[in-house]
Amino acid sequence: MKKLISVILAAMMVVLLAACGGGSKGGDTQYLFLEEEMGTESYAIGFKKGNEELAKTVTGAVYALVKDGTYAKIGEKYPDIKDYLSLKAEDINDADIPAKGSGDPNFTFKHGFDLDYPPYSYLKDDGSVGGFDVELAQAVCEYMGWKYESVPFNWEAKDMELNAGSCDCIWSGFTKEGREDKYTWGCTYSNNVQGILVASDSGITTLADLAGKTVGVQIDTSAAEMLEDSKKELADTFGELKTYETYTVAFNDLKAGAIDAIAIDMTAGAYLISNEAK
């Protein structure tokens, strides 16, 4: 009897695992953004409150990289975000730019970021740390003549890490709106448009179609904050707003049909879509 039961249990596990593996639908389902967007915000570099000097220097160095084309060149490597990059060479005043190599060579710039946030900061295919923000920060250090140190942290503990001085800045797809007074800000360098990601065969085409539907969002992201705050009215029309630890899980739920849509920063969403197409 015992044997029989264990055989049955084992068989059930195999079936379940197989079902997980083959979970994605037909194959021709695609994922796309609604044309109607939720809103636009911007990514910027956050420094500890009062650290004006470092904020100004880093901003100046980023400006220099915009002028010499490094900024656009790094952007080319990340096709999902290059259309959102917001700094333009013609808007920059040369007076704001520090001289190349004028930084203290003994200074180590501790770049704090979240490793779960592709394509801004993440683990690349070869297992190394990379992303647009990481490369830009490294280029800043190279320009100033500083040493670079990466400090990947747990997103929920970012303020503690910054205040305790284990990093000099939060620079990891960090939305400025709604946090203006909490940090001393460096330049904004990328637009951040929040959109709604749906399956192409879902029948959802406008924000109004989301009424009564289940929408997923990642905890503590700007999309989540937007739905609690400025877009509360929209969120109230949803059947349910589900909060996930990561977008990876939310996206799997969308693929499995357990939720109808995902509210997400479009750059991060574009990364999910293009990865799915691979």
Binding site: L115, D116, Y122, L123, A157, T246, T248, Y271
Partner: protein, 215 residues
């Protein structure tokens, strides 16, 4: 990302996981014994303080404790916490697990019938001899299954170190899952944990067998 890269990244994380695991076992098991002795102390203040310590360690989430150990020195004294991350993790885990081990030890010690102490006294053993020669060998034997439980829990609890941005295996699995939009790293992590715990269970069983000196 190729399998090779994934496995080697996660393997690297596994070494960091093992570092937490072994150091925690190394420090918390002896510390647990000290805590038990303090807890059983006849002096009220000492046993009282120890009780409070155990209550806090068992009554609050380990993740919270880790954050407190790491950021505490900065927020309380404004101390620099550069380079202190790993030490904070080991302190956090050790202090927490010592409390659990202490209670397991206490359960074992108190399960020994008073007759054993009386017999030892009659035979002329002094208190220290009685504890180490008569009581402890019996205690070790009874508490082994509970200790195994605790150690297996520790293997899985190491993943909480991600709260302090320590790149152990599960944190890496999460990062790869995010960058590859795939669940595979989680499954791989599950296999890693399972294998580790299988080894732990196997070793503990061997130790248990080697202790069947009374049967």
């Amino acid at each position: 990302m190729s399998w090779q890269v994934m496995l080697s990244s996660m393997g690297e994380g596994m070494l960091r996981t093992l570092a937490i695991f072994f150091l925690t076992i190394l420090f918390s098991m002896p510390l647990g014994m000290v805590v038990t002795l303090l807890r059983r102390s006849k002096i009220r203040i000492i046993s009282g303080i120890t009780k409070v310590y155990i209550a806090i360690m068992r009554g609050t989430p380990l993740m919270l404790q880790l954050l407190a150990w790491y950021f505490g020195p900065y927020y309380l004294f404004g101390a620099s916490i550069r380079g202190y991350r790993f030490a904070a993790i080991i302190i956090g885990f050790t202090m927490n697990y010592a409390a659990y081990f202490a209670e397991i030890y206490r359960g074992g010690i108190e399960s020994i019938p008073a007759g054993q102490y009386e017999a030892a006294e009659v035979l002329g053993y002094n208190k220290v001899q009685t504890f180490f020669k008569i009581i402890l060998p019996q205690v070790m034997k009874t508490i082994m299954p509970s200790v195994t439980n605790e150690i297996i829990t520790l293997v899985k609890d190491t993943s909480l170190a991600f709260a302090l941005a320590y790149n152990e295996m599960f944190a890496i699995a999460k990062q790869i899952a995010a960058s590859q939009t795939s669940f595979t790293p989680y499954i791989v992590a599950g296999v890693f944990y399972f294998v580790m715990n299988y080894v732990v269970a196997f070793v503990m069983e061997r130790i248990e067998k080697s202790m069947d000196y009374y049967s």
